[in-house]
């Protein structure tokens, strides 16, 4: 075996090892603020680092969004199914809470994008 072959082999092995060890973990970017839309129209944005309660009045009904500990969730809704109150709180950029009857969407946003995640299957 020539010296160069040996180095090539070593390089390939190290490369494989590096690729294996440095496998990207599922990366998530924490959301900095939430963007609230009603039927596609912007309703407002709120920072996630300030605990607060937001009442959203839509033509279809009312939702109350609670922000605390860097997470936003729907704490009250006057629709009969209240599915939006059961959804995972928004913490990461790209997370969404949807209230179908009120056409309300709460989406987590960050300057740094969505942490390499393009969409969420649920």
């Amino acid at each position: 075996m020539k010296r160069n072959d040996f180095f090539l082999l070593l390089l390939l092995l190290l490369g494989t090892l590096a690729a294996f060890l440095l496998r990207p973990e599922p990366s998530t970017a924490k959301a900095e603020h939430i963007q609230v839309t009603v039927n596609g129209k912007m309703y407002g944005t709120w920072k996630l680092n300030t605990p607060q309660t937001i009442t959203v009045s839509t033509p279809y009904g009312e939702n109350v969004i609670r922000i605390q500990n860097g997470a936003a969730y729907v704490s009250k809704a006057d629709c009969p199914s209240r599915d939006c109150m059961k959804l995972k709180p928004v913490t990461n950029s790209g997370d969404t809470i949807v209230c179908l009857p009120h056409k309300l969407v709460v989406e987590g946003k960050s300057k740094n994008g969505n942490g390499g995640i393009d969409t969420i299957a649920h």
């Binding site: 973990e25 998530t28 009969p80 199914s81 709180p89 179908l100 299957a121």
Partner: protein, 365 residues
């Protein structure tokens, strides 16, 4: 020599860390979201005709909504139900009898011509029903309504009520001629609800429209059902996170895909709780109650979104063991990720290289 070697190694390390994200990523030409088919739709499109294509996709969703909605009286499905309710032998005295169950009193309904979309959905549903031993069933809406699904208010019905309502279900009563598109039913009390398959079907129709507009890179999300068209413009794969059933945990993991559909069914979105018991919306056709199969979520990965949509529901109902044996007979058609009540994460072998997760996985071969 050594210098060059170290530079190369450094490059590899940088590459591994960055996931080569320094390659420029174009902004999408169109990002569009809207509500249709009782769901929230979000689309990301690349290409010169993206805006025009987005208009066409939205129009197509609205058209399908009008055809298939259970909640609009003029939809094809509602029309079918109205026609079924009209007895085929009007004025027949047998309808006036009181003691025998309704099912036996009514004669077979007259034949009804279905629209192309309803016909296609029905054919696919009947096939899935047969293949999954009845786990996939589109006739359960009277039982769903009994529980309050999907719009509430919710309640736990008693066994007698469920049994009585189950008499209005059952796909075996459907008589269907795919060639003439003539539908009839032995039990005219039957109703069709394509909720477990229609979003997947809509995604396929949308993909066909995208092709016409020469859009080769797009990502569609129809209420959590994902259809990835091609890759991203920089040829990297679309990264689809799979929701974790527990609200406090981030994701089950992230799938990297191109030209694939990813659909998840679970117990964590449409449900209610009573006396600390969770009642979710995916009903077991055999019991008329929420499926207690040992699964918390079932994710299907395959090309055809209609199949992915239908199978995610069916496999959720079947439970882990039956789902795995079903997959072993249909390995070439789809891959899956199953998450059980005991927090076991089953994943089929082929997905292993494209699924990133912090959780321990059990590989199914």
């Amino acid at each position: 020599m050594f210098k060059r070697f170290y530079f190369f190694l450094l490059f590899l390390i940088v590459c591994a860390f960055s996931g080569c994200s320094f390659l420029t990523q174009k902004e999408p030409n169109s990002i569009r979201d809207f509500f249709a088919m009782d769901t929230y739709v979000k689309m990301i499109l690349y290409g010169p005709e993206a805006e025009k294509a987005a208009d066409a996709l939205q129009a197509e969703m609205m058209r399908l909504d009008r055809q298939l909605s259970l909640y609009s009286e003029t939809s094809d499905v509602s029309r079918l139900h109205q026609q079924l309710a009209v007895p085929s032998l009007p004025g027949s005295s047998s309808f006036q009898q009181t003691d025998a169950p309704r099912k036996e009193l009514l004669t077979q309904s007259h034949a009804i011509l279905l629209s192309e979309d309803t016909a296609e959905l029905l054919t696919r549903s009947l096939n899935l029903h047969a293949e999954t031993n009845g786990a996939f069933d589109i006739t359960l809406s009277p039982v769903s309504t009994l529980w309050g699904f999907p719009h509430g208010p919710f309640r736990v019905p008693d066994k007698t009520e469920i049994q009585a309502t189950l008499a209005r279900t059952g796909m075996e009563t459907i008589r269907w001629d795919n060639r003439t598109r003539q539908f009839s039913a032995d039990n005219p009390a039957i109703t069709l609800d394509f909720g477990g398959i229609a979003k997947g079907y809509a995604a396929e129709k949308m993909a066909a429209i995208l092709k016409k507009h020469n859009i080769r890179h797009a990502l569609l999300n129809l209420g959590g059902n994902v259809k990835a068209i091609g890759t991203k413009p920089d040829r990297s794969l679309w990264r689809v996170a799979i929701q974790h059933p527990d609200a406090k945990t981030d994701y089950l993991g992230v799938l990297s895909v191109s030209d694939k559909s990813v659909v998840t069914s679970g117990d964590y979105e449409r449900y209610f709780e009573k006396n600390k018991i969770r009642y979710h919306h995916i009903l077991d056709p055999r019991t008329g109650s929420p499926a207690r199969s040992g699964l918390r979520s079932a994710t299907i990965v395959c090309e055809d979104c209609t199949l992915a949509d239908g199978l995610s529901t069916a496999l959720f109902v079947l439970g882990p063991e039956a789902a795995i044996s079903f997959w072993q007979k249909h390995k070439e058609q789809f891959q899956f990720i199953l998450f059980t009540e005991n927090n076991t994460l089953f994943i089929t072998e082929k997905l292993l290289p494209v699924f990133e997760t912090k959780l321990t996985v059990t590989v199914v071969r």
